[in-house]
Symmetry: D2
């Protein structure tokens, strides 16, 4: 299974008055790690795939996260990212947020490949074959 | 069951290049809705309960969210918040994010009552009786 | 001079380990106050003016802010917003962030009316007469 | 003059519906660059200096920024940071945000060394000699 690692240094402003990372920031980093996985596999940026494939991105439809240990500023986090399952118009993206050998947080998401609807909204489309080729193991 | 409603207006800067709310912002609002539930029940701010009860806040240990419809700037969202279950040192907080009659997102969280450990970390403590009295129905 | 007031309640997650508002959040709120000024004057949302006038928004080119007093969570802030000067393709937008009668922060910005360039970048355009009519006093 | 460089990769979620960096994010990065300058000079983290020197951080009292060119996701930014002037209880910290050879944004800030007041607020204190020794050229 292909895996990409996205590295983050926790900043002072990422932490709250309890001096630990304010949890929505984990989702900021996970969203970046999601896109970096595709970039690492060779998928072009979404503003290009919008023109070539009609795909504007991979919005989230479901997420389940467990927060195991806290982090604070100065910590360096490595987010290990992979695709746990391909499901036609959606897929399960999996994350493990590590600080050295410690697991801090894990998260399973369901995301779709999205195209723009005529009314400005978005709709799910089948994963383009060219993207699957880049992201799957062979 | 006690319920509080937290209202948010979506701003331009809450939206991403796909022109929809960037999902980590939903978690920002849900965290605010969590605290507002306790404030609405009459629980003092955490910097007071830190002194009186040793409780520094209610950090998240698990969250599961479903994203049903997108939102964009100008939308007014009402986040309906309640406690679905009390579990000694933890509790399940439930959210429904509505735009008028439409359900946009729902989320179930497990949170703990946290106290400061001597090494600067945090640990779960039993829900203080005074907080339970304020938050439960009678 | 027309003035709009945008109200914000400071949240736990807006504060940093020093337990005061982390300053970039003031700019989040000021950007929202900027747009709300135009909305309060009757200017349509930017995704409409993009179609009707070619204007995609009012990006910032210069900002100067003074931070006079700190704020923390639970505080209610009123951001008083006006246009101090109109300058053809740009304008000076002025903000005073108040907590009751106390001035916490003040800010003067230069913003432009922006249109999309063919290469995807943006360029300044003259303020559309219809927008000036809505925003100026008569 | 000592200089530190802080590197940032712009993410999808840092950009707004106009597909350019939403400007408050520049201030998030600049705040991180400010702290990294001190870290690069060998100054301990603020939760240590709070105990040893009474200094809880360097909050901002004034900032003036010019936005020269826009950035979008995928761009790699280098924030060149230095101290332009030492002024007893305050100092001027200077930033140049570069994308390769292009200057995107520049910013001059006035910051203070802050200590905790008894009522929970903060006050300016003289720059500790040990910090000056680390940050000044010799």
């Amino acid at each position: 299974m292909k895996q990409a690692i996205y590295t983050v240094t926790v900043e002072f402003g990422d932490c709250d008055p309890a001096r630990i990372v304010w949890f929505p920031n984990f989702f900021r980093w996970i969203d970046a790690a999601s896109r970096h996985f595709f970039v690492a596999c060779g998928v072009p940026p979404w503003h290009e795939t919008e023109k070539t494939l009609g795909v504007i991105g991979t919005p989230l439809v479901d997420t389940h996260a467990k927060f195991i240990k806290t982090a604070s500023y100065g910590d360096v986090l490595a987010i290990h990212t992979s695709i746990a399952e391909w499901r036609g118009k959606s897929f399960v993206q999996r994350y493990k947020v590590m600080r050295g050998g410690e697991l801090l947080m894990e998260c399973d998401e369901v995301r779709i490949f999205a195209a723009r609807k005529e009314d400005g909204g978005i709709r799910a489309v089948a994963a383009p074959e060219s993207i699957l080729q880049l992201c799957k193991d062979h």
